[in-house]
Symmetry: D3
Subunit: 137 residues, 6 copies
């Protein structure tokens, strides 16, 4: 009996979409106002979804307190109130689009969740724009 | 690395559920108050989901501004503040149930989105009733 | 000790904004696409707020079951799945703007709620447009 | 043409996480404050998702009124305002975790929904914790 | 320049509506299924609103971190995962209706917030039922 | 008959809480991680509330299209995708706390709304932190 357990979390951050190897003109054409050199920012809402069998002892797929603490350590402490471009190692040479942020979060959590459990992350950049990533198949 | 990008949109419209080839009695038995001949209406909330590889140049699956404009042109301008039965060609002989509206929206968007990208639409008729359609497999 | 008790409810309806005594041109200038002669519609969300002292016997300002049933009878049954312009007596000569619908709902409920209790209604026409009415002071 | 139809419902209930065959100490270590012997409680939000072909006669996968009534009879009347541990047969020897409640709801609905339709349930225990179950494959 | 600062918080709890000095019959007539002797429960959402002048030094009415910690200590730690009737002193002889819970929370916070600031609390018992209390004038 | 009309809008921005005339140490003690020198950011949700009599001609307090356009010009275009500290004149010497941002927005809108109408703004910095400002009485 496979069940998916979902946990919501939250962080807010500044970012800017641009490529260092492109001209200012090209960055503005492609990324528009998301390329403001002084940055803009978002409240990111995150849903972490873990799929696996129910442990017959506890009735849990994964203990929600464990999952909540893991998200806190790997995502919230790492990204909250940060400038993604300036303060976060993974984005030194990676454009912090919602797609790429979701990939970074997925990789950080994947390393800490038991291998028999599947992992998917959904990241809201705004209430109207969001992305989902479940790893390579 | 495949990611799904979601964009929310909104339109409101009047509609009525009924079949021209059925009697009034049968329409009322099957469709109840949704068959009011003077119409009723909804705020439709739409989520358009596009799945594909991340473009390594931009970090995007699809540019959200492009997707937003496409939804505006193909769905919002076409359906907003309309009477679905009277004003929209696709529903002249098709009952505008949430299922069928989702199918019409999916077809209109599918024609304009690159073929290597998968498409799914979720349509909320009310906050408690909604449908999802991802095309024929 | 005065407390306000709030109850949410829901109905959906078709309507059209226009004045019979204006020309089509003037109606279109003032009301834009809200003047579609074939109607459009909304999911209306309603919050009914009742303020008064706590009954020391029950701990209630007003019994929520009583308030819920009253809203059902006076508002939901009366307006749900209706064409406001065509099916509802109060709008035969009154433009069904959100402001006027809130006024009609307030009057219907005011007549059935004890006089020592204050009444306010908030009506969402869309998630982004809403109005509040608390009667004449 | 396969579509998924979703319907939201609501119930609230008390529960306690523990195993009768464990010591108080072990229950507290594993279940923390969820093991309060006097119970705590939640507003459970439920989404029932039914997937199948659109009926060409009606334009429905399943009539929403039928689905709404089925959820009311099998889930809301059965679980609303109940103590899950004390009042609900399925939890006499089953820990009422969100995972297990979702399984119980799925089983109750599965028995009443036509076999050619697929069924999935999503159960929110809080706005931040939720689970999804779609049956054994 | 007076501004109101609002902070949302959350707790979940079991409760039962009844009066010890009433017969079972009367309790059932007045409180219906809310009188289940085995309790039921809710996710309570709380909004705490503090009104006062902006401190010209900090730009704050009240430091949100201070307010967040105060709500945690006085409300969340005190009420979360509790049985309100059995575990909370204020409800030993007070019916834990939403109205009375709001009053108890207001009193606990009022004692810890500077007197020149006004205080209002809004308590959601369910997404559809909520109450507001601002103290005696 | 006085009614309040509310319109929701949205912008996102980067900011940093600090005072130029304070030491780094004092800024960190008072503003904590909100003082990140590289900035962080938010999705700001705004509710603009306008109170006045219903125009008997139109049934409007204020035309929602007019209010929507006014908010777009005075708030969304002015603040969206901006760094509040660096890009917005009003915050050159004013700490961009939620309280102060609400004040700036109120002033900008007040100048463009007819004097017989009352104005209140509610600004969400996060889904859990928000402020309300209605001007000096």
């Amino acid at each position: 009996m496979k069940v998916t357990v979902h946990r919501k979390a939250h962080f807010n951050a500044a970012h800017r979409l641009y490529r260092k190897d492109w001209s200012d003109e090209k960055n503005t054409v492609v990324f528009g106002k998301c390329n403001n050199p002084n940055y803009h920012g978002h409240n990111y809402e995150l849903i972490v979804s873990v799929t696996g069998p129910i442990d017959s002892e506890t009735g849990f797929v994964i203990d929600m307190k464990v999952l909540k603490d893991l998200i806190y350590e790997e995502v919230e402490e790492y990204l909250d109130h940060k400038n993604l471009n300036e303060d976060v190692a993974e984005f030194k040479d990676l454009n912090p689009t919602a797609e790429n942020i979701a990939g970074v979060i997925w990789n950080r959590l994947r390393a800490k969740i038991q291998q028999h459990l599947q992992l998917e992350v959904t990241l809201y950049e705004t209430p109207r724009n969001f992305v989902t990533y479940a790893g390579e198949e």
